[in-house]
């Protein structure tokens, strides 16, 4: 990010314009509906931060049981074993499958937690009156938001694995795999964080420059 980019940029609001968040067409400020696609126009999405916080909070709440309760219920020859996410990772490491353990760990622990942190950070810094404003970091924030939005869906790997295993391994007495409570919790958690990321209005990032300038 060069200094050339970091010079104060004119936002659409400053220019008296409002862009359609659906199709991107620019209108005069005061236009209520998009002349092209008919969506209600907002210069900034109302209540965006509030929604972000709500989804984020919900996602964090359900992430707790997702880690405490078993993800997989493996019944083999009448012998049931339960494995949580972290327990499964440790088990995999013990078996020597470091690679798989790493994938599971990244997908199930690192990414969700990272998302919580990233979304929380973004939501904090774009808050009006926030002191954590550094003009030079606005592009970084934008980049962070894009990464979070992109990577969020990959957390579902774990859930897919559980769903596929549960569907395939139903050999009655010999071996049966069932999803645990954690599977539901985890998928909810991923969904909530994705919603949180979606609720975030990236245009808020640039408002910080405005306040900085003022």
């Amino acid at each position: 990010m060069s200094e050339a980019h970091s010079q104060p940029a004119l936002t659409a609001r400053q220019a008296g314009l409002v862009g359609c968040h659906s199709c991107g067409r620019v209108h005069e400020m005061g236009t209520t509906h998009c002349t092209r696609c008919g969506v209600v126009l907002h210069s900034r999405m109302p209540g965006s931060l509030q929604k972000v916080w709500a989804w984020l909070f919900a996602g964090m709440v359900v992430y707790i049981p997702a880690n405490i309760y078993p993800m997989l219920l493996t019944t083999s020859l009448g012998h049931t074993s339960e494995s949580t996410i972290i327990g499964g990772v440790i088990e995999l490491v013990e078996y020597g499958s470091i690679g798989v353990a790493l994938i599971v760990f990244v997908a199930s622990v690192l990414i969700p937690v990272g998302k919580f942190v990233a979304i929380g950070y973004l939501a904090l810094v774009v808050r009006p009156g926030s002191r954590m404003t550094r003009g030079s970091g606005l592009h970084g924030r934008q980049r962070l938001f894009e990464v979070v939005e992109f990577i969020g869906r990959w957390s579902m790997i774990d859930v897919f694995v559980v769903a596929i295993l549960s569907a395939l391994v139903q050999l009655d007495f010999a071996a049966t795999i069932n999803p645990g409570i954690a599977a539901v919790s985890f998928s909810l958690s991923v969904a909530f964080t994705m919603l949180a990321a979606q609720s975030f209005d990236p245009r808020l990032i640039w408002d910080a420059e405005e306040t900085q300038a003022a």
Partner: protein, 696 residues
């Protein structure tokens, strides 16, 4: 002028309330929290109550995996396995479902279920795959809520709540019953034995047993238990019998029971059953316990009571009515010399005799007094054919047979039942006698005699004289045939017959003397040669038949007589055949025949009619010769008469059949048969001396 301007209006955007500002989205985290808390609560509630069970060892118990079951339903799981502080026990910490844990009583039983293979089958097979589990057994008591238990090594044989009756049994030795052994009722398993244990004094073993409902209804005081483990072999009047019980009972031991008579009373708590070694003794024990109102009385015996034991039966008309309680000796101060008398104390059950159950001593004595007056006496009897054991029999004899007696009283007031001496057959002595008699049979002698007879016969037959006889006889017969075939002879018969009649007259005279008697027979035989050859030849087999009949009869007669007779016969035969006379007989006969031949030759030569007188003279001389020949058998005794007659028949046979060899062979064969019959007899006797005793 000052223009009053209105004060600057402070226009604020209406303060939007915090709540109106609040987005509906916030419901989502609220719901998430509620759901999460709900799940947390649920798992907390489901976590159960922690209890601790101490085991000696915790084979196969794994924390987090081993479940705890009650009636095969999982009620909890093992959380932790650790040691007691002094390392002597294993403490299993388990979480039990809350609602179940609240009803756990102090005496709840926990044990580890493992696969087990025993004689009674395979149990706990499911644990092979699923791993062991801990089974609980208790009677739920709401609000009991015990938290600490002592585990047992094996499950109780009776689950709590199982219907049935627990009884106690007593036995002398427990080496044939083991814990878990089945209790059988007519072969069906209706209960188990629990662990046998010694009573404090160490004299016997008691053990509890559980009879399942509804079979426990059969238990009364009349129920008898006996050991069915293993197999039993018994030998008695009905033969050899082998009883093999249930296979499981064979291995683990087993107990069977039956209610042996009706009218038992319901069990009282603390009633202890005796375990009998076998069914027979269990059934016989019938009167031992009902002898509660048995009346004791004494019986004095004069002779030995060897074989009578305490517990032996007292029988009345074959029915067991009591038992011997004691046997002892008393010194009876008779008139002059002290005398030892054997005093037997018996207990008689009035009920067994047929008196009403409530009949007491008086009623029984009354009955016995009457019976004694009628001739009832006690006497000793053998209990069975093969045993020396004795029982006391209350025999009913007719009053005339026995000296009158009555029930006396001893000094202590005990009634004394009159007894009579019994004629006990001494079985062993009898058996010995039988064996002795069999032993003393002169079988060897008999065999030797037979061998000697055979040797003698061989000697006779192989002697040259005997061999010469057929030739001479054949020549004679040839001559006779020639004579008879001649024309003169054809005309002769009438004359000859009259001549013979005369000869007969002459011979009748001769018959006055002994030698002439024999001569007559010979001549008569010669007569019958012409007249009835077939009959003559048939006579010989008759002889053999006679001999055979003799043998048959011999085998039928009593042993000693037979032996003696056989010996006698053989002796006679031996002496007969071995006698010089017999040996001399063939040559003598030969010469006699030669004479006859000469006569016949003369007859043929001369004119028959003219030469009748000469013939008769010749015949007379022939007869003389024959007589001479006969007289040359001086050693023949009177008994030989018949034999000579039969020898005549033999000669006749010689005349009747041209082929002497056949006859001789037949004779030999018959002799051989005879000898064989004798041998067979001897062998039969040797093999089966019984047949002599029992007839066949």
């Amino acid at each position: 002028m000052s223009t009053q301007t209105p004060a600057e209006m402070q226009i604020d955007a209406p303060k939007r309330s915090f709540w109106r500002n609040l987005s509906v989205i916030w419901l989502v985290p609220v719901v998430a929290i509620v759901v999460s808390l709900g799940i947390a609560w649920q798992s907390f509630a489901a976590r159960g109550v922690i209890v601790q069970i101490t085991f000696e060892n915790a084979a196969g118990v794994t924390p987090g995996e081993t479940s705890i079951r009650f009636r095969d339903v999982v009620i909890g799981a093992v959380e932790d396995v650790s040691f007691s502080p002094d390392l002597t026990e294993v403490v299993v910490t388990a979480a039990i479902d809350r609602d179940v844990a609240d009803t756990l009583p102090e005496d709840a039983r926990f044990w580890v279920v493992q696969p087990e293979v025993s004689a009674r089958g395979i149990t706990g097979l499911s644990t092979v795959l699923s791993g062991v589990y801990i089974e609980a057994s208790f009677k739920p008591e709401p609000g009991a809520g015990a938290r600490s238990f002592t585990g047992s090594t094996s499950g109780p044989l009776v689950r709590d709540g199982q219907q049935g009756t627990r009884i106690t049994m007593r036995t002398r030795e427990a080496n044939r019953v083991s814990e878990g052994a089945p209790i059988l009722f007519r072969g069906i398993e209706v209960g188990h034995i629990e662990e046998p244990r010694l009573i404090l004094s160490g004299e016997s073993v008691v053990f509890d047993a559980f009879i399942e409902a509804p079979h426990d209804r059969r238990l009364t005081t009349a129920t008898r238990f006996w050991d069915t483990s293993g197999f039993s072999v018994s030998f008695g009047a009905s033969g050899l019998s082998l009883n093999v019980g249930n296979l499981a009972a064979l291995v683990t031991g087993g107990i069977a029971f039956d209610t042996v008579f009706s009218g038992g009373e319901p069990l009282n708590p603390g009633y202890v059953f005796d375990l009998f070694p076998d069914e027979a003794s269990a059934r016989q024990s019938l009167f031992r316990s009902v002898g509660a109102n048995a009346v004791e009385m004494s019986i004095e015996f004069d002779g030995s009571v060897n074989g009578l034991e305490v517990g032996a039966a007292v029988q009345y008309r074959g029915l067991r009515v009591g038992e011997v309680r004691a046997i002892g000796a008393v010194l009876a101060e008779d008139a002059d010399s002290p005398q030892v008398r054997l005093l037997t104390t018996v207990a008689l059950d009035p009920q067994a005799i047929g008196l009403p159950a409530e009949a007491g001593e008086d009623r029984l004595l009354e009955f016995l007094e009457d019976a004694v007056a009628q001739g009832l006496r006690a006497r000793l009897a053998t209990s069975s054919l093969f045993s020396a054991a004795l029982v006391i029999e209350l025999a009913e004899l007719s009053a005339d047979e026995v000296a009158p007696a009555e029930i006396a009283r001893r000094e202590n007031g005990m009634a004394i039942l009159p007894s009579i001496p019994s004629d006990l057959p001494d079985f062993t002595a009898t058996a010995e006698g039988v064996l002795e008699r069999i032993n003393s049979l002169p079988v060897e002698e008999l065999m030797n005699q037979a061998i000697r007879v055979m040797a003698s016969i061989e000697l006779v037959v192989s002697s040259e004289g005997t061999r010469a006889a057929p030739d001479a006889a054949l020549a004679l017969i040839e001559d006779i045939r020639g004579l008879v075939g001649g024309e003169d002879a054809q005309a002769l018969p009438g004359e000859l017959r009259s001549g013979l009649a005369e000869l007969r007259g002459v011979i009748a005279e001769l018959r006055l003397r002994e030698a002439m008697d024999r001569l007559l027979e010979v001549v008569e035989s010669v007569d019958t040669v012409a007249a009835n050859t077939a009959t003559a030849s048939a006579e010989f087999p008759a002889l053999v038949e006679d001999l055979r009949a003799l043998v048959d009869r011999a085998s039928g007669v009593e042993v000693e007589e037979l032996a003696a007779a056989a010996t006698r016969v053989l002796n006679s035969a031996d002496s007969l055949i071995g006698s010089d006379g017999m040996r001399d007989l063939p040559p003598a006969l030969s010469s006699a025949l030669t004479e006859v031949q000469q006569v016949l030759a003369t007859l043929r030569e001369g004119d028959a009619v003219e030469n009748v007188n000469r013939t008769l003279a010749s015949a007379r001389s022939a007869a003389d010769s024959v007589a001479q020949a006969m007289e040359s058998l001086p050693a023949l005794s009177q008994r030989l008469d018949r034999l000579v007659g039969q020898a005549d028949a033999l000669i006749a046979s010689y005349g009747a059949r041209s082929d002497f060899n056949t006859e001789a062979m037949q004779v030999m064969r018959e002799f051989r048969d005879t000898a064989r019959a004798v041998t067979q007899l001897a062998r039969a006797i040797e093999r089966n001396p019984n047949s002599l005793l029992i007839g066949r």
